[in-house]
């Protein structure tokens, strides 16, 4: 199965750091919440792991799925 970046929505507080470090995959909506644009590719994996670590609310996870 592919790997995806999943948002733990109740924890997310629209801080926006995930978008700052991973703009290729994460956009922000008009209220500041992340829009994950697609599946995780190999090239983006390191940055995705960085995004997971940088989130001040630990609201991102890399999981199996679509």
């Amino acid at each position: 199965m592919a790997q995806v970046l999943r948002v733990d929505w109740p924890s997310c507080e629209a801080r926006g750091l995930c978008h700052e470090v991973l703009p290729e995959l994460v956009d922000l909506d008009e209220w500041g919440y992340p829009i994950v644009k697609g599946p995780l590719t190999k090239e983006l994996m390191d940055h995705a792991k960085e995004a997971v670590k940088v989130c001040p609310r630990l609201a991102l996870r890399i999981v199996e799925g679509r």
Binding site: S11, E13, A14, R15, G16, L17, E20, V21, G32, V52, K53, V54, P56, R57, L58
Partner: protein, 193 residues
């Protein structure tokens, strides 16, 4: 124990200077933690930069703290044993003020270790422990004032500035929080957290 020639002023100056700079850095990183973290849009500096800055200033202060502790122990002008850096109030030299520093050091260790393990622990636990940085900072200030034997005017100015900076930042953050809460509750019907 053979004298290592460690009575001269160099250790003393090193200890004093690292002590002062550590307090300044702690103040800076605490103010950064209070003000820059929060739900506001990033402004000109990206959030992850501010976050990294906060972390790096904190780590630098740890480094300086290590030098401060080592010089304090090695300096033979005053009797400070190595364990007094971690266990408060057991020493002979200024046990109260040195002890405050020891407690601050212990808190520093807890905060740094938990922050390195942040992704492997429950966020609420990490957060609760991280809030002790307020106490850490206050203890450092108290330690500095209490143990400082050469408070010149400029030193007092520096100390007072640091002492005011964190409470001021906290008041600003609190004010911002109140404003955000009152504006949020007047708009969306479902937006209650």
């Amino acid at each position: 124990m053979e004298s290592l020639g460690l009575e001269g002023p160099i250790l003393w100056y090193l200890n004093r200077s690292t002590g002062v700079v550590t307090i300044v850095l702690l103040t800076v990183t605490t103010v950064l933690g209070v003000l820059a973290i929060g739900g506001r849009p990033a402004g000109r500096v990206p959030r992850f930069v501010t976050q990294a800055f906060h972390r790096n200033v904190a780590l630098l202060s740890v480094l300086l703290l290590v030098v401060h502790l080592v010089t304090a122990v090695l300096d033979e002008f005053v009797e400070i044993r190595w364990w007094e850096a971690f266990i408060p109030f057991v020493g002979s030299y200024e046990p109260l003020w040195v002890g405050l520093g020891a407690i601050a050091t212990d808190l520093m260790i807890i905060v740094v270790v938990t922050s390195m393990m942040r992704t492997r622990m429950k966020h609420s636990l990490w957060r609760g422990l991280h809030v002790t940085t307020y106490g850490l900072w206050a203890l450092a200030i108290g330690h500095g004032i209490g143990v400082g034997t050469d408070m010149t005017d400029s030193m007092w100015l520096l100390t007072v500035t640091c002492a005011i900076a964190v409470p001021l930042a906290a008041v600003l953050r609190l004010g911002r929080l109140v404003i955000d809460r009152t504006s949020a509750s007047s708009t969306t019907p479902g937006g209650l957290k």
